[in-house]
C-alpha cells in the first residue's frame, strides 16, 4: 500500500510518501503550473504505483488574486431584477478608513456581464413572480455572444425556495457546462455574501477542473490513484465534489495543518490545543477542543487582515464552512523597518520566498525575522529545501542599518511574538476560552522557533513541537477523514430538516457518521453562533445556545432565539497510517552562542533525532532538525516524547 500526500504551498510543495516507512520531501513550487512540481517530485522519489493520493493546493486563491499570470475565465452573473449591482455595492463600506486612494478588490463580474431576470421570491419562500424561461432567451444569446465560460445565478430568498434558480439552470445547462446556483453553493440569507460565494464558485469551476485534469494525467503515470482533496472545513472530499464546488478547497493547506494538530492531539491524549502554524509570510492560529476543530462560515478570499481578523470588504466573501483561523502577517520573511521617526516596525510587508530574507542572497535588501533568528544564533545557516548556506554576514549588514543588529533583531522578534499572541487571543478569548488552559502546537517552518516565547505572552505552560514540523500540514492530509457538508436555512421541522440533509449526503459518502449543527442567534443579532446538535429539539438547542452565548459574551438576553441555518457534516473515518515513528541518530550536542535578553549565552544545540526519549533538557537550548529549529528559552524544560514529539513545560 502506497499512500502519497502532497501539500502545495506558496514556496514549497511538500511530499509525504508512506510505503512501509514514511518519507518526507520538499520541492520548490511551480505556481503557474502546480502539477509540474508534483510530477518532478514524484518522478524523483517514487518508482511505484500509488494506492491513495491526498492533496491540498493554493490554486484557487492564487487564481482569484490573479497571481502568477493565472487568468480567470469569463464569467457572467444573473440576479433578480433590480439587484444586478449587489455584487459591486457589497456592504457599501471601504476597506481602509483614511486612505483617499483606496480601491475595492477588482470586481469578478464586469458590469456588462451582469444580467437580471424578472422573478421574485418573498421572504417566506412564496413565488411572487415565477420565472418565465422563455423571457431569458435574449440573456442566453448575449451570454453566448460574449463567449461566457461560466455562469453564476443568485436570486433573492432562493435559500427558502430555489425553484426559479433551478429552472433557469436547467434552461441554460443546454448551452453552458459551468453553472452555479446560489442555492447549490450557499443556501442561506444575506444576498451579497451569497452572490459573492456563487460568483467565486463559478469563476473557479473552469480553473479547478482544468487543473485537476492535468493533475490526473500526471498521476496516470503512477497507477491513476483516486484523488481526495482537503476541504476548508478540514475533511477530505472527492474530485467530483471539488469540480462542482471549488469553493471547497480555497483554504485547503491551512486546514490541513489544523487537522494534523487535531489528529496528533488524539494520539497524545491532549484535549485543549491551539494549533499555531508559522510559515514564510503568515502565521495562523486555531483551536482544537476534544479533537474537534472550530468551524466558521464567514470568510473573505484575498482579504487583508487587521490584527488577526479579515477586514470586511477587503476581499471576496465566501460563505462556506472553513476552519476558524486567525491570521497575522508575521512569518519568517516579514520585513523589519524603521519609520521616519526611527520607531521600530515589523511587516506587514514580507520578502516572501522571492527574494526572501537577506541571508538567502537572492537580492533581498530589507532584514526579516528569519535574518534576526539567524544572527541571534537561534537557527543555523542551513537553508531549508536546498543545499545552500544562509549568509549571516549579509543579514548582519542589513540589520546594522537599523541600529545595533542584535538589539534590533531581538526587539523585532518580540514585536512579532506580540502579534502572534494577539492572533491566538482572538481564537480563544473571543469565545470565552482561557488560553492558559491550552497546549500550544507549534509547527510550520518558523513555528518551533517562537512557540515557547509566544506561549509566555499568553500564560500558556505546555508546548508541543510535533514531528516533522516543517511538513506537518502535509502530514495532516494523511490523517484526515472524509467529510462533506450540507445546510439549509429556516427549517420548519428540525428532524425532517436534518434527515433531509443526511439523505442528500448519503449519496456522497458511503455509510457515514453524521454531525449536526445549528446556527443560532437572538433575533436581531448580525451573526450567529454554531451550536452542535445532539437531539433535534428546539428547546434543547436554544438552551445550548444560551449557555454558549453566556460563556462567550458573558450575558444572555430576554429575547427570542432563532435557528437561521442547520448544517450536517457526513464523516467517514479513514484508516490512519503510522506517522509517529522517528529515526534515531547519534549526534553529540555542541555549544553555540545565542543572544538572549540582551546578552550572549553559550547554549547547547541538540539534534532532535539523537535525543533519547524522556531525557530532559533545560532551556536555554536549541534543538535542530531538517527544516526547522526549536528554541527552548530559559524557564522551559523539554523532552522527546514516545510519539516522537517534543514536549515543553514552563517551569
Amino acid at each position: 500500500m502506497v499512500t502519497v500526500s502532497i501539500d502545495i504551498g506558496g514556496t514549497f510543495t511538500d511530499i509525504i510518501i508512506i510505503d512501509k516507512e514514511i518519507h518526507y520531501y520538499k520541492v520548490p513550487t511551480t505556481p503557474a503550473n502546480p502539477e509540474q512540481a508534483v510530477m518532478e517530485g514524484l518522478s524523483k522519489y517514487l518508482h511505484k504505483d500509488i494506492d491513495e493520493f491526498i492533496h491540498a493546493t493554493t490554486i484557487a486563491t492564487n487564481s482569484l488574486l490573479g497571481q502568477y499570470g493565472l487568468e480567470l475565465p469569463r464569467t457572467a452573473l444573473i440576479t433578480t431584477k433590480g439587484f444586478r449591482d449587489v455584487i459591486e455595492i457589497g456592504r457599501q463600506n471601504r476597506p481602509e478608513l483614511y486612505n483617499l486612494d483606496f480601491h475595492r478588490p477588482k470586481t469578478l463580474i464586469p458590469s456588462k456581464l451582469r444580467y437580471e431576470a424578472d422573478e421574485r421570491t418573498d421572504v417566506n419562500g412564496n413565488l411572487v413572480t415565477k420565472l418565465d424561461t422563455d423571457s431569458m432567451e435574449n440573456v442566453k444569446n448575449s451570454l453566448i455572444k460574449n463567449k461566457v465560460k461560466s455562469v453564476a445565478i443568485c436570486f433573492l430568498h432562493s435559500y427558502m425556495n430555489p425553484e426559479n434558480e433551478v429552472n433557469l439552470k436547467n434552461y441554460l445547462s443546454e448551452y453552458f457546462d459551468n453553472i452555479s446556483i446560489s442555492y447549490g453553493v450557499s443556501p442561506e440569507p444575506r444576498e451579497y455574501e451569497r452572490t459573492s460565494t456563487t460568483v467565486v464558485n463559478s469563476v473557479l469551476m473552469p480553473v479547478v477542473s482544468g487543473y485537476l485534469k492535468r493533475l490526473k494525467s500526471v498521476l496516470d503515470k503512477f497507477g491513476s490513484p483516486e484523488i481526495n482533496m482537503m476541504s476548508n472545513a478540514g475533511g477530505l472530499v472527492s474530485v467530483d465534489e471539488v469540480i462542482k464546488k471549488p469553493v471547497n478547497i480555497i483554504e485547503s493547506g491551512p486546514a490541513a495543518g489544523v487537522i494534523a494538530a487535531s489528529e496528533f492531539s488524539s494520539i497524545l491524549g491532549i484535549d485543549k490545543v491551539i494549533s499555531f502554524d508559522m510559515g514564510g509570510t503568515t502565521s495562523k492560529a486555531g483551536t482544537v477542543i476534544n479533537h474537534n476543530v472550530e468551524i466558521t462560515a464567514e470568510y473573505e478570499v484575498g482579504g487583508s487582515s487587521h490584527h488577526g481578523r479579515i477586514v470586511k470588504g477587503s476581499g471576496y466573501p465566501v460563505r462556506f464552512p472553513f476552519i476558524d483561523l486567525s491570521e497575522v502577517s508575521s512569518g519568517g520573511g516579514t520585513v523589519i523597518w524603521k519609520d521616519k521617526t526611527g520607531a521600530l516596525n515589523i511587516g506587514p510587508m514580507s520578502a516572501g520566498s522571492e527574494p526572501g530574507p537577506v541571508a538567502y542572497n537572492r537580492g533581498g535588501k530589507e532584514p526579516t525575522l528569519t535574518d534576526s533568528n539567524l544572527v541571534m544564533g537561534i537557527i543555523n545557516d542551513k537553508m531549508s529545501g536546498s543545499d545552500k548556506i544562509l549568509r549571516k554576514d549579509l543579514a548582519l549588514k542589513a540589520l546594522e542599518k537599523l541600529g545595533n543588529p542584535y538589539e534590533v533583531a531581538e526587539s523585532a522578534i518580540k514585536l512579532a511574538n506580540l502579534e502572534m499572541a494577539r492572533a491566538i487571543r482572538l481564537v480563544t478569548v473571543e469565545r470565552g476560552l482561557d488560553p492558559a488552559e491550552f497546549t500550544l502546537f507549534g509547527f510550520g517552518g518558523a513555528g518551533p522557533q517562537v512557540a515557547m516565547p509566544v506561549a509566555d505572552e499568553l500564560g500558556i505552560r505546555n508546548v508541543i513541537i510535533p514531528p516533522e514540523p516543517g511538513v506537518f500540514s502535509a502530514l495532516g492530509l494523511m490523517l484526515a477523514d472524509i467529510k462533506y457538508e450540507a445546510r439549509m436555512s429556516y427549517p420548519e421541522d428540525l428532524e425532517a430538516g436534518f434527515t433531509g440533509l443526511e439523505q442528500k449526503l448519503k449519496y456522497q459518502v458511503n455509510d457515514p457518521e453524521f454531525l449536526r449543527y445549528a446556527d443560532c442567534r437572538y433575533v436581531g443579532q448580525g451573526s450567529e453562533l454554531t451550536i452542535p446538535v445532539e437531539v433535534p429539539d428546539r428547546d434543547k438547542i436554544i438552551k445550548d445556545f444560551t449557555d454558549t452565548h453566556n460563556r462567550t459574551f458573558g450575558f444572555t438576553l430576554e429575547r427570542p432565539v432563532e435557528i437561521l441555518t442547520i448544517r450536517v457534516f457526513a464523516i467517514k473515518k479513514r484508516v490512519k497510517p503510522d506517522v509517529k515513528s522517528g529515526k534515531n541518530t547519534e549526534n553529540k550536542p555542541f555549544e553555540r552562542n545565542v543572544y538572549i535578553s540582551g546578552r550572549w549565552e553559550s547554549v547547547y544545540v541538540y539534534q532532535r533525532d539523537a535525543l533519547p526519549v524522556g531525557q530532559k533538557i533545560n532551556g536555554p537550548a536549541v534543538i535542530e532538525e531538517d527544516g526547522s529549529s526549536t528554541f527552548v528559552p530559559p524557564g522551559w524544560k523539554t523532552s522527546r516524547g514516545e510519539n516522537n514529539e517534543l514536549r515543553a513545560v514552563r517551569l
Partner: protein, 510 residues
C-alpha cells in the same frame, strides 16, 4: 527595560480587543453589522493613548469628549471608584450626538486612578418623538431624545434610561456590551501592569504619544505652509447654510478657523465642537497619506477655532442630531477643498451625505425601529475614477442585507443597484450613487436627514460635479419628490425610492 514600541503595541491591541468584544456581543445590527462604535485607552489626564475606531466621525470627537468628561468630573467632584462606570450621551460633553452613548471606567493602581478605558456606541434609539431619534423637525436638543448627563451607572439609572428608549431590549443588550467591553479593557490593562510595571507603562505611553506627534509634524513639514480658504454649503429647505474655513498650516501645526460660518440654527444641523474637530482631523490625517497611530500626539497638532454660537460650535441645547451625520461630511469636504489648493492628490467631492433613513412603527403592541445609511459615489482621484456605491469620508457603516431587513421589518425591496450616469464627467470621473427602493407592508413612520439634493458635489481641476440626490414616495400611484430632510407617514404599500448623489470628477476631459 522594555521597548516602548512593545508596550505601545500591546496597548493598541487592548483598544482593538475591546472593540471586538463590543461588536461581538452587541444586539443592534447598527453596532454588530455596521460597526458604529469605538474604543480607547486614556491616561489619567484624559489624553488618548490608543484608540480603535471603525468610523471616522468618532476619531477626533473622542479627544474632545474625553477632555470634557474628565473636566466635568473634576468640576463636580466625581471620583469613579473601582468597579464604577460613568455614562453620558450629552453631545455638548461627549462630543457627537445623543445616539452615541459613552461609557468610561477607571483602572486603579495603588489606590489611585492609573488610566481610563472608554467606549462609545451608536444606540439605535435614545428616545424623543421619532423612531431612531434623528429628528428632522427638532428645534432644540430636548426634541432629539433623552439627555443623560455624566452619571455613575446604577441599576436605577439603567432603568431610567431604558424607560425612555423605544426599543429597551435592544438597548439593554447594547449597554451590556459596552460595559463588558470596558471590563475586558480593565482586565487587560491590569495584566499589562503586572507584566511591565506601572512606571514602565507610563513612560512608554509618553513615548507613544511623542512618536505619533513627531510623525505628524514630519508630514506637515512636506506641506506648503500658508493660509488656505474654502467654502461649502448645507441645505435647509432651499436656504444655503455656509461653512467657511481658513486653514493655517505651518511646521508646528494646523489651525482650522471657521470665522464667517453660518450661525447656529434651530434645525438639527448644528455640529458640536467634537464633531467639528473630528471632521478636520479626518481630512488632515487622510491627506498625510501614511499611517499614524491614533493618539493624543496626532491630535495635538490640530487646533480648531470655531466661533461660539456658530453652526460648528453651538451654544448648549441647540439640536445636533444631523450635525454628526451630515454637517460632519460638509466640514470634511470643506477642509479637503482647502487642502486641494496645494495638494494635487486630494480627490473631487464624494456624495457628501450619509442619506440617513429612520423608520419605525408598531407591530402588535411592540414598537420597532430601523435605521440605515446609504452610500453614494466617491469622488474622482488624481489618477483614477472614484468608486461606486460606497461610503465616503466620515462614515463607513455597512448596509443591512435586503434579505435580513425583509425578515425582520415590514419591507419589500424593489431595487438595490448603482444609479447609472450619476457621476460627474471628467478626466477621472466620480463613482456612481445608489438607487435603493422598497415598499412598506404596514403603516410606517419615516424620517430622512440627507443633503446634496440641491448643491451637487464639487469637481476639481475642471471636472464636472456629480448628480444631486433625490428621494421619491409613490403613494396610490402618485410619485412625489421629497426634500432632503422631512418626516412623514407611509401607508401600506407605499414605495420609497432613494437615489444617492454621484461623485464629482477630477480634471477636465481631454
Amino acid at each position: 527595560m522594555t521597548d516602548w514600541e512593545i508596550i505601545g503595541k500591546a496597548t493598541q491591541f487592548i483598544a482593538e480587543e475591546m472593540g471586538v468584544a463590543l461588536k461581538r456581543s452587541a444586539i443592534s445590527p447598527n453596532i454588530r453589522e455596521r460597526m458604529d462604535h469605538s474604543c480607547a485607552v486614556l491616561d489619567s489626564e484624559g489624553r488618548i493613548i490608543a484608540q480603535a475606531e471603525h468610523i471616522p466621525v468618532h476619531l477626533g470627537s473622542f479627544k474632545i469628549g474625553s477632555r470634557n468628561i474628565i473636566n466635568y468630573m473634576r468640576e463636580h467632584n466625581i471620583t469613579l471608584k473601582k468597579d464604577e462606570m460613568l455614562i453620558t450621551n450629552d453631545p455638548y460633553i461627549s462630543g457627537t450626538h445623543l445616539n452615541d452613548v459613552t461609557i468610561i471606567a477607571p483602572v486603579y493602581h495603588d489606590e489611585k486612578i492609573f488610566c481610563y478605558v472608554i467606549n462609545k456606541a451608536h444606540n439605535v434609539d435614545v428616545g424623543g418623538p421619532v423612531f431612531g431619534s434623528l429628528n428632522p423637525d427638532a428645534r432644540n436638543l430636548y426634541q432629539e431624545g433623552l439627555i443623560i448627563p455624566p452619571v455613575i451607572i446604577t441599576d436605577d439609572i439603567i432603568k431610567m434610561i431604558l424607560a425612555n428608549f423605544k426599543d429597551p431590549e435592544t438597548a439593554r443588550g447594547d449597554l451590556n456590551a459596552q460595559i463588558s467591553a470596558n471590563k475586558m479593557g480593565i482586565n487587560r490593562i491590569n495584566e499589562l501592569k503586572s507584566k511591565y510595571g506601572a512606571d514602565e507603562i507610563l513612560s512608554s505611553w509618553n513615548s507613544l504619544i511623542d512618536h505619533s506627534r513627531e510623525l505628524s509634524l514630519m508630514a506637515l513639514k512636506s506641506w506648503q505652509s500658508g493660509e488656505y480658504t474654502a467654502e461649502d454649503y448645507l441645505e435647509k429647505g432651499i436656504e444655503k447654510i455656509n461653512i467657511d474655513i481658513k486653514l493655517k498650516i505651518d511646521e508646528y501645526g494646523v489651525i482650522a478657523d471657521f470665522q464667517g460660518t453660518h450661525s447656529e440654527i434651530e434645525y438639527p444641523l448644528n455640529a458640536v465642537e467634537g464633531v467639528t474637530f473630528s471632521a478636520v482631523a479626518y481630512a488632515i490625517r487622510s491627506a498625510m497619506r501614511y499611517s499614524i497611530p491614533t493618539n493624543d500626539g496626532f491630535y495635538s497638532i490640530i487646533t480648531i477655532k470655531a466661533p461660539y454660537g456658530s453652526l460648528v460650535n453651538p451654544e448648549n441645547n441647540y439640536p445636533v442630531s444631523g450635525g454628526n451625520v451630515e454637517t460632519t461630511q460638509r466640514i470634511a469636504d470643506v477642509t479637503l477643498r482647502a487642502l486641494s489648493a496645494f495638494l494635487d492628490y486630494i480627490p473631487a467631492a464624494s456624495s457628501g451625505t450619509m442619506m440617513n433613513i429612520m423608520m419605525g412603527g408598531k407591530i402588535g403592541n411592540k414598537y420597532w425601529s430601523y435605521y440605515e445609511t446609504i452610500g453614494g459615489g466617491n469622488g474622482g482621484r488624481y489618477d483614477s475614477n472614484g468608486e461606486s456605491g460606497i461610503h465616503s469620508n466620515m462614515t463607513n457603516t455597512l448596509n443591512t442585507p435586503v434579505e435580513i431587513a425583509e425578515k425582520e421589518y415590514p419591507f419589500f425591496f424593489t431595487r438595490n443597484n448603482l444609479r447609472r450616469n450619476s457621476y460627474g464627467k471628467g478626466k477621472y470621473h466620480g463613482g456612481e450613487g445608489i438607487v435603493r427602493s422598497f415598499r412598506v407592508r404596514s403603516r410606517t413612520y419615516i424620517s430622512v436627514i440627507a443633503d446634496r439634493f440641491i448643491i451637487p458635489p464639487w469637481g476639481l481641476k475642471g471636472g464636472f460635479p456629480g448628480k444631486t440626490g433625490k428621494l421619491y414616495i409613490i403613494s396610490n400611484g402618485k410619485k412625489k419628490s421629497m426634500p432632503s430632510k422631512f418626516s412623514t407617514v407611509l401607508e401600506e404599500n407605499d414605495e420609497v425610492i432613494v437615489e444617492t448623489p454621484g461623485g464629482a470628477a477630477y480634471g477636465e476631459k481631454q
